[in-house]
Amino acid sequence: MNRFTVVFLKEFIDNARDKRTLFSSFSVAILGPVFFVGIMVFVLDRALGESDEPVTFAVVGATYAPELMSYLRQQNTEISEVDAEEPRDLVTSGEHKLVLVINPDYAERYTRGNVNTLMLIHDSSEISSTRRNLGQLRGLIGQYGRTIGTLRLWLRGLDPSISNPITTQELDVASPAARALTILASLPYFLVLAIFMGGFYLAIDTTAGEREHGSLEPLLTQPVERAELVLGKIAATSVFGTLSLLVFLISLYFAVPFVPFEKIGMALEIGLTQILSILVISIPLIFFAAALLTVVASFAKSYKEAQTYLTIVVLVPTLPLILAQLLNIENSLTVMLVPSLSQAILMADLIKGEPVAFASALTSMTTTAVAAILLSWVAIHLYKRERILG
């Protein structure tokens, strides 16, 4: 057995025995998919439910305007007729979310052709479906009013369009599928995070932890090349990163069927081909992450100090992903030069089932691998300095 393997096996077994390391390494991998699928199901349920839900409200004085009421009942509504001295209280008490008040002189004003004002009582500080109900009810009443106005103009022999010089039409393209895609776009972020979190505690334990426990000095007195030592440690960290990503993908594989994609006419399948492809394009990033975490943790004198540094490090590679989403960066060869960002974009394409260009994948993998090698070289160099003992 060569010394690289000896160091690797020791670090792997040593850390696999630590419950804290295991929990933290796989927390993102296990909770990520659950969280993701939960949000997805929730959002889709809402999006699907809203469109055919009836407009719900209460009416005070329904008897004063029978024609208006019959019009409203013909629409997709759910109306409860109530009596109240002070209609306001119906809303403040929380008994009703939305109340329409019709005055007793409605019929009289209607016949005389006067303006009738209907009051809509609601509480705008409440986050609920009231806002949607209010908007739709307002629309219905406006529509009813315009119909009456049009009829009156006709009766007087006028063209109704003179009172409506401008009209608007709305088209909301935010279909449930579009909402689902937005959430789906955040999935690569979690995958990259899983890779980094997988190696997080190993990177600390094998460097700053070893120094703090006083085992680094005897280790350095062994006839082992520093390169063998450091690469063995980085390899163990990489394996944990790989396992974390793998656990994430496998749980995703089993969790995705629970999302009702078919209801919105979408087909999302995380198949074995995709899992394998994501793994392959992630390999250089896994090494990159392990080497980066190892280099930074090597500067720390204690476990706690290393934890602080690495928390920042884990945020840094995920920043490009957030930026990319905000700036809507598309797949291009230049973007493929950036570690973590390139993988995230490739992962997004793979998840959506879009073809990935060979040149893109190759550029991403090569540049990230080169960066990983450079970082490993830095790590080896750090262990050649006697200052590593602190």
Binding site: M1, K10, D14, G214, S215, T221, E386, L389
Partner: protein, 244 residues
């Protein structure tokens, strides 16, 4: 044989070692005696190839530690200041890890581990994880780890720190056996009685310099007193330091 020749080492403004020279012979136990901060640990760190001297040389079996660190590491067994064991590995696993790093084959390693477990009387606890070990048990495992490749030179940094009487006695007899086997044993201490009970040669080191180099009886004669502690205090200029 370990030869230290005019060693100097500074950490920033601290001149830790200022021209230390001495020799530790095979089949002898040599003590590096000095108060805290005298430069003992720095000297041992240079010797064990984890620090480089600014000036001077350190030779182990004639090999320069700065130019031939890998060969020196094979010749040297080091017991560090604190045992530095891996808490989640068992005693045996700790020893085996270093045996493998020393490139011992399985056929060499396993009988060697068995022999050390026997010699150091570790049967009762060596299969457990070291997390709950007593100080004495930890030192035994760390010593077995240092001796796994049967090195000709053994360097022990304050090995009896934190040991009770029985554990100290056991350790002494182990060190004596190493001497009988022809090893070159160098150990640092700041405890006079320790040195008196065990060592053949003494090097008194203080303020980064060698104050005395000779046998125990020469040390008594040199200081003109039977009281070794008194001799040590005189040689190390401790009094002066306290008064100044």
């Amino acid at each position: 044989m370990i030869q230290i020749d005019n060693l100097e080492k500074s950490y920033g403004k601290v001149h830790a070692v200022r021209g230390v020279s001495f020799t530790a012979q095979d089949s002898r136990i040599t003590a590096l005696l000095g108060p805290n901060g005298a430069g003992k640990s720095t000297t041992l760190r240079i010797l064990s190839t984890v620090a480089e001297p600014d000036v001077g040389k350190a030779l182990v079996a004639g090999l320069d530690v700065t130019t031939h660190p890998m060969e020196v590491r094979r010749q040297l067994g080091v017991l560090p200041h604190n045992s530095g064991l891996y808490a989640r590995l068992t005693g045996i696993e700790n020893i085996r890890y270093f045996g493998r790093l020393q490139n011992l084959s399985k056929q060499e390693l396993e009988p060697r581990i068995e022999a050390l477990v026997e010699q150091l009387d570790m049967k009762d606890f060596c299969a457990r994880r070291t997390a709950g070990f007593s100080q004495g048990q930890k030192i035994k495992v760390a010593l077995a780890r240092a001796l796994i490749h049967d090195p000709q030179h053994v360097v022990l940094d304050e090995p009896t720190n934190g040991l009770d009487v029985m554990a100290t006695r056991a350790l002494r007899s182990i060190i004596r056996r190493l001497k009988e086997a022809g090893k070159c044993v160098l150990f640092s201490s700041h405890i006079m009685q320790e040195v008196d009970a065990l060592c053949d040669d003494v090097i008194v080191i203080a303020h980064g310099q060698v104050k005395f180099d000779g046998t125990i009886s020469q040390l008594r004669a040199h200081a003109g007193t039977e009281d070794l502690e008194e001799a040590f205090v005189q040689l190390a200029d401790l009094r002066e330091e306290r008064e100044g």
